[in-house]
Symmetry: C2
């Protein structure tokens, strides 16, 4: 697995049970996955020689992020390496405008969008769509962000001032955000997890509720259908996470990811097969595991670093003890990351029969871990 | 954790979620846990300098086997290291005669036993107990065994011919073998898992059924009570597994282990907190996790190496695919061990609502993995 963040860390955990050899290409020996995985190789995923050397020691190469340069992916494939998902599929996670165009061509419902290069174009689109207008980087972004909700032409101008290709998208009013997670193997076996609700703030996922509470069968089935269709149409091997807006008029696709996804962390304890095991089974062309939920209600809440300084937060392990004592059923996952304000450093999962209480347990535990306050 | 077998391997997996640093002292870099754990140190657990150096880099030292020499354990404690469980408790896993004497003093029911040094003594005991008589090594054993069921004086003589201290025990006729698994922390918090049935052949565990099917409340509660009493009386920190014979006259304690135990592998998917996470929480003095079962019925079956040669069994991964395809709900755990006839190389777990079908699934999967035959 190229990349050694928390997704690789949790994938390495799943690889232990399967008994398959697992290596990560880590930028640093202190990366989240590098701390735990015996098969860590340090190297630079933007350097083709590092990728080539890493891939030479692997039967299959997969990824914990979508930032490997597309020409390098193509070069690995041309050298006969098994790259899963492949370069042709990953293109749609690296070029969001290409993704939008492909989805439109497939008739998959998306927000209205258009490429833009000037404030005048944005203002013209806003005349039809209304403000705010969402600007999205075609690839990458700046200052760690790739999506900007612009309320005014001045805000759009500030984004366009950066040398980053963007396109404009209507700002969708939605009732809920949903995510559908599916897996597909080279043998074309597919498996779909229950559709979940994600609770996002400022574009960052804070909670995941599985299954999505109160979701009607119609949009649930439609979300799974779209995700399964996209795995086939885009030729995905491994996991595909599709994020949706649920609007009065139906579902709109927001984002795609072709890897384990934050919206699937609940599956570690909450489903018969975790997304990390499923991704490995899919990319290794093993038969897929049962994706069904193991319990009626699961809530996952992310833990974000708090504290006023950038010097870390040494109290986190003391708070850990409090959280475990308060709720013996809570499952805590810490990623071995130094604590910085706003940084995702872990997650907690609660399971049970009643979503409001399960959700409250997860939110309370994550909040206490972050801040030390009830 | 001193030792790098499959117990350390699965404990390292649990440590990843907890976000605690985890090291293993491995005899070889190819040991089961050493293959996966970034914190592997190679060394000899029978050499005090290796143990001292390993312990110096750890806040707490624990074990995946009971073979560290007792004087070394005492030396680590005298040097101020946190050894959990401690030397005083571990004595009862290293000296089975001391364990029997202590249990008798506590009034805990055990099979009748007596130290023996001659065939005449064994024959005299057999006159009261009847044949067969069980001979058990006080510590260790030979040829990889420490228990011998002797049908005749000649068989007893063959055991006694070895320079191994033994004691004699009556051969108990039982209805079932049970195991109770409990955890205790330095804070004296304790947690008990549901009592399970173990299915053993030739003294080797083949299957575990959780909870023990058809077990009446009386012996179930009594088994938990004895296990909890022993953790307190023996001063155990971490897990204690107590193996019982269930006889017409009640429970008799057979064996003790103070570490994760084969009879608890079902907890990885089948309980709210796996035994491996629980052991870590206990030895780190973190609050213990919920030990309750997550589903009504769980069956675990060990996978043993088959094949006629000692050169390994390269077909095991092909059979793996078949097993996963036949049963998407089966959970396979392979330990990264080379396959030799009779060697425990992994286990499988099945979960569900009906024990006969759950058990059949686990047995079929384990059997197919071992032999390639339905």
């Amino acid at each position: 697995m190229v990349g050694a963040g928390q997704l690789a860390r949790m994938t390495s955990q799943a690889a232990i049970s399967l008994g398959v050899g697992f290596r990560v290409l880590a930028g640093s020996a202190t990366d989240s996955a590098a701390q735990v995985c015996a098969g860590t190789v340090t190297g630079d995923y933007t350097a083709l020689p590092d990728l080539v050397a890493f891939a030479a020691a692997c039967d299959v190469v997969t990824f914990d992020h979508e930032h490997v340069p597309a020409p390098h992916l193509a070069a690995l494939e041309q050298a006969g390496r098994q790259v899963r998902p492949g370069a042709a599929a990953l293109r749609y996670t690296q070029d969001k405008l290409a993704m939008r165009d492909r989805l439109r061509a497939l008739g998959v419902p998306c927000p209205r969008y258009a490429p833009v290069t000037s404030v005048a174009e944005v203002t013209e689109l806003a005349a039809g769509w209304g403000w705010p207008v969402v600007l999205k980087a075609v690839s990458g972004g700046y200052d760690g962000r790739g999506v900007w909700v612009c309320q005014t032409p001045a805000e759009a101008a500030a984004v366009l001032a950066h040398p980053v290709g963007v396109f404009a998208e209507e700002h969708v009013g939605f009732d809920a955000e949903l995510a559908a997670l599916v897996a597909r193997s080279p043998h074309r076996q597919a498996a779909a997890y229950p559709v979940v609700q994600t609770i996002q703030r400022d574009g960052v996922c804070h909670e995941v509720l599985a299954p999505a509470p109160g979701l009607a069968a119609g949009p649930a089935i439609e979300a799974e259908r779209i995700a399964l269709e996209l795995t086939a149409e885009l030729g995905v091997t491994g996991l595909l996470a599709v994020e949706f807006f649920l609007t009065r008029d139906g579902l709109l696709v927001n984002e795609l990811a072709m890897r384990p996804h934050n919206s699937g962390h609940w599956t570690i304890e909450g489903a018969r097969t975790s997304q990390f095991e499923q991704h490995l089974r899919a990319v290794l062309d093993l038969p897929l595991g049962d994706p069904r939920a193991a319990v009626p209600c699961v809530a996952m809440a992310n833990v974000f670093g708090a504290g006023g300084s950038s010097n870390g937060d040494p109290d986190i392990y003391a708070r850990y003890t409090h959280v475990m004592a308060a709720d013996p059923g809570i499952k805590v996952h810490l990623y071995g990351k130094s604590v910085r304000p706003g940084r995702k450093i872990g997650h907690v999962t609660a399971l049970g029969d009643d979503m409001p209480s399960v959700r409250a347990r997860a939110v309370r535990a994550a909040g206490y871990l972050a801040t030390g306050e009830e």
